[in-house]
Symmetry: C3
């Protein structure tokens, strides 16, 4: 059993910007030469999340819109008042969606569905460089 | 350390149908002869999720009902308009709940709580065969 | 590759009490002498969750408040009627947030963000002893 840990950086626009990182994850799996095992994707940071979704233009609009009704950006969050910040909603959304995802692979391929992509969602309210970790355990 | 990856299929009715897969996971753990380690349950697909819940009749009604108020099925989602689909809400719900769960086991037993079951929730709006992956890493 | 599974207990007040367990997780990582690998934190039980958040006083108030608007404690849940319980909302919230989290570590350190803590959220409506599992896989 082998272990491999890689850091990556992507550019995000914030404001619930959804970025498809599936090609990056597949690239790391291929480079590793591992055949069977598990990939953990992890977000260091408290205003972004990792999940899976069908990466298509309709849902890229639907998810931010419905989140505005569930966890609105404009509320007077205690976080904002305490720190002079404006991203209380970003923190709450990220805690909801979570910071880790585990995807098994077999015969050198991720076991994703056909219409399923691995995405990072940046809930913060500004564009930035966003780091994430890809960790492979397998053989 | 050994690795084992198994695919399973269950029948689901859709519409936030919650299926208890704990017996299937325990069955795979027993077959594997592994004693200590971790099980990753993963859903290939973008309209279903895996989580844990107390599998009892009240909550099986409560969860779909409250989801109708949080992420309603009847909204004019962009996804539906773009693809002629009717399951925009299913995709959003699945992205919220997530597609992977990791459960440790020790002395040959899952470390679940007494009232805690591993469930797949099918958010799609039709019945189907639903695949999932059980991956064990342990010794 | 080595495996290590440890159980811990914390005191929680319930009612969406958020407890920072990062020091406990770091303590187990240091004791294990493992350098590179992955930590799975798992909650046995169906009314608490594990996630990451910036552990600061504002958000500790914001998260319970917004949850009252999303998954209210006062609704006539079927779960409550069936069992004479009062914690239907606790179960639903826990199913949403999930019971497992995986955090990679490298060079003996958790790969968390600077403002990111590992927390247990106890959604139940009473104080209690709350168990959780820390499982390390690494080398």
């Amino acid at each position: 059993m082998k272990l491999q840990t890689v850091k990556h950086t992507i550019d995000t626009r914030g404001n619930t910007h959804i970025v498809d990182i599936t090609p990056i994850v597949i690239g790391e799996l291929e480079k590793s030469k591992l055949v069977n095992g598990n990939i953990c994707i992890f977000i260091p940071g408290s205003t972004a999340s990792v999940t899976t979704i069908e990466y298509e233009p309709g849902l890229l609009k639907d998810l931010p819109e419905i989140l505005e009704s569930i966890i609105p950006s404009g509320k007077p969050y205690h976080h904002n008042k305490t720190w002079g910040d404006n991203n209380g909603h970003s923190h709450i959304r990220a805690a909801f969606f979570g910071s880790s995802l585990n995807v098994p692979f077999q015969n050198g391929e991720l076991m994703l569905g056909i219409w399923q992509q691995i995405v990072i969602i940046d809930f913060d309210e500004r564009s930035r460089k966003r780091n994430f970790v890809i960790q492979l355990i397998g053989e």
